[in-house]
């Protein structure tokens, strides 16, 4: 595996090892549990915490456009994983920045590493063009030093870096949509030998319910269909240029924001593969292959969409109908996959 590793000694003398990950929250959760002696890979955490999802939220605006998410709500993966693995966690938001910063300093002084949720705009170690007003980036604070804080950002950097105290405070307490209000979390106690099979089953069942059973068309497979149909109508309804803008916005959620490719679909396929080894189940492995195919279709959707956007000022070869059509194919296949998954999980023994 080509992951570079850097290590750092914590205040209490223990060693922290930095591992890169594809996504911030799963990477952070994996690192937090690793620190407590429970070794689980990023896809495993993603599966157990039921990270895969699809939701369309027209009433929450981000840079003026509706949110189309490919993952569960930020924060839920950690919460669910901890619950299913029988871990006790600390998870708190704060009323004032002062209290939040004091508590953070207090905890890291004991040698406990802490994950914080931040707003990307205020983090100066981020590349200039990544810095948008988005409250939902997680990283780990290791200890305090003369520059502020020593942090490990598994999703973005391949090394451990510094973050000034000012940046940290602004980023943690930035106001905006989905504000973090200084959210910080870490596991207090982790069961060293949890029942991973049971946790996997719980995670997979929850995933199936999330994708298939929510009776609101804004969530799950129904939402994929909704967005697909919206995309087909956009050019007429909004005009070509605005339609491109909206389409690009969907793509940003799918590809740009550290999803491990194809809006987390590849990561979920990796989870199914790992689960199939754990249970010795051929069916799960087949489902993993199916998920890879679905991921490839999402990827194709991204390529077609990007061509639509590129040609917005000239000739029109690819159409919104084709992009929407690809998304409908994804919806159909995902519905089938999660139905199959539910049947397979029903036969698994923990």
């Amino acid at each position: 595996m080509t992951t570079s590793v850097t290590t750092e000694t914590l205040t209490n003398g223990r060693t922290y090892t930095h591992r890169t990950a594809a996504h911030c929250e799963t990477g952070v959760t994996s690192a937090l549990f690793f620190d407590k002696g429970l070794h689980l890979s990023e896809p495993m955490i993603f599966g157990i915490g039921s990270g895969i999802f699809f939701g369309h939220l027209p009433f929450i605006k981000w840079t003026g456009l509706p949110i189309t998410t490919f993952r569960a709500m930020p924060g839920l993966v950690f919460k669910k994983t901890a619950k299913r693995l029988g871990a006790k966690v600390y998870r708190k938001r704060f009323r004032t920045p002062q209290k939040g910063m004091d508590e953070l300093r207090h905890v890291i002084r004991t040698g406990q590493i802490v994950a914080v949720t931040t707003n990307v705009y205020w983090l100066s170690f981020f590349p200039r063009r990544y810095r948008f007003n988005f409250s939902g980036h997680n990283f780990i604070v290791l200890y305090e030093n003369e520059n502020g804080f020593r942090i490990s950002d598994p999703a973005l950097l391949e090394y451990i870096t510094d973050c000034s105290a000012y940046d940290m405070e602004r980023a943690r307490f930035a106001r905006g949509p989905m504000e973090a209000r200084g959210l910080m979390y870490y596991p207090i106690y982790v069961n060293p030998n949890p029942d991973i099979r049971k946790a996997c089953i719980a995670g997979m069942l929850d995933t199936c319910n999330q994708m298939l059973k929510i009776p609101i068309p804004l969530f799950g497979v129904k939402a994929i269909r909704l967005v697909a149909q919206k995309i087909i109508k956009w050019p007429e309804k909004l005009g070509y240029v605005e339609a491109c803008r909206q389409l690009a916005h969907v793509l940003r959620f799918q590809e740009e924001m550290g999803t491990g490719g194809a809006g987390f679909r590849y990561m979920f396929a990796a989870f199914l593969q790992e689960a199939s080894e754990l249970f010795g189940s051929k069916e799960l492995n087949e489902l993993s292959n199916d998920m890879t195919v679905i991921g490839d279709t999402w990827r194709e959707f991204a390529v077609v969409s990007s061509r639509i956007i590129k040609q917005r000022k000239s000739k029109r070869e690819e159409t919104f109908d084709k992009a929407g059509g690809l998304m409908l194919i994804c919806a159909g296949r995902e519905e089938e996959l999660f139905k199959n998954l539910r049947n397979v999980v029903g036969n698994l023994k923990s």
Binding site: A155, A174, R252, G260, G261, S306
Partner: protein, 138 residues
Amino acid sequence: MKINEVPQDDVPDYSQGIKKGNYAIDDRGKYVMVPSKGWVIDEQINKMAYDEYQDKVEETRKAVLAGQHSPLAYYMELRQMIPKFLGKTAGIATFRVKRHLRPEIFAKLNDSVLDKYAKALAITREDLKIVPKNSYER
């Protein structure tokens, strides 16, 4: 996606050497994480959003110089805020923030209110009163 299909398009201005994790299948059909240097499609959609933001900042700057808005509007755009969230950050009611975007009302503000805005926008009080003459490079 196979390992060799993971995009490795290097766009230095965009990624600044940062690699993104991608899950891909290796020769034996096993999923592994592969660092990707970037993808032109990522870059393209990011550029769209980033240009939009820059254009908006530039537009506001010109509007301020033309006397249509107060400098507060420019710094609000620069920090990617809207009156609601600027108000929350500075501790000032949204309707007041909206009023303060008008130049004639902004000119009459006292120092304590300006200080609140300066702190919320991470600039000095003197900077808040003027906008750059030339387009701003971050």
